[in-house]
């Protein structure tokens, strides 16, 4: 599946709609890293809805796979070690920085939070530089 800008826009719209429902119905920010952390370190009375959200993420993926061809294809060529290191960095960084692309990038920017605008610019730049550095190291 070659996801075009139309896929991106429609998918983004769905994400925006999900976040909107989550805000107006449940009163919460749809920040995946924070929601997920509440699953791995649960607080009493604040666990089940988070678990259901995370299960929903996976269900959504299942639904998508029914009508899209190979939406989870990974031809990035990153080694097992790189993927593990990346995971640790993303886990640590999103926890330390209080959010990720959904929490800061979508929700934070939508409500014009200066913290989120800054965080988003910073993680985008960091990602850009990381890709450039890796490309240099790998490709020469």
């Amino acid at each position: 599946m070659e996801a075009s800008w139309i896929n991106a826009l429609i998918g983004g719209g769905m994400i925006g709609l999900a976040a909107t429902i989550h805000l107006l119905v449940s009163g919460r920010v749809a920040g995946v890293s924070s929601i997920y952390f509440g699953v791995i370190k649960p607080k009493a009375g604040d666990f089940l809805w988070r678990l259901k959200f995370v299960v929903g993420l996976i269900l959504g993926g299942l639904l998508g796979s029914l009508f899209l061809s190979d939406p989870f294809v990974n031809v990035s060529g990153r080694s097992v070690l790189a993927v593990i290191a990346a995971g640790v960095l993303v886990g640590f960084g999103t926890k330390l920085g209080s959010g990720c692309t959904s929490g800061h990038g979508v929700c934070g920017i939508s409500r014009m939070s200066p913290r989120s605008i800054v965080a988003t610019l910073v993680f985008m730049l960091a990602g850009i530089l990381a890709v450039r550095l890796i490309s240099f190291v790998v490709g020469g």
Partner: protein
Amino acid sequence: MKQGLVALIVGTLFGLGLTVSGMTQPQKVISFLNVFGHGGQWDPTLAFVMIGAISVHFFAYRVKKHKTSPFFGDKYYLPDRKDIDKKLIVGAVIFGVGWGLGGYCPGPAITSLVSLKLEPFLFVTAMTMGMLIQEYVFKQK
């Protein structure tokens, strides 16, 4: 319970959106971050994910102004900090590096678990470890 059903629906719509958008394809993420076009063409396609999402979600906050409480529940649980501190910046840097390294961020990685591929499992496990390390080892009380 209504709250749980809404969470399930929201999560499912969110995961579906991620899957449709292309965010669950690491190469596409890396190509999006490859602004310098080194070793391959820059692919700005994924910029439309955030554009699409914010275009919709921006209005949620306009509506919220007129609603003292959410439909289910007594109050809003929104972050209220306004300061830009070192933890935010350092955290964002570390996250961004990990994102460029693996091509996954939390949502797409979790959603991709359904594919039963190795990388999402490795990533989500490692991401869990990373979060717990920050919580228990490095967190300043």
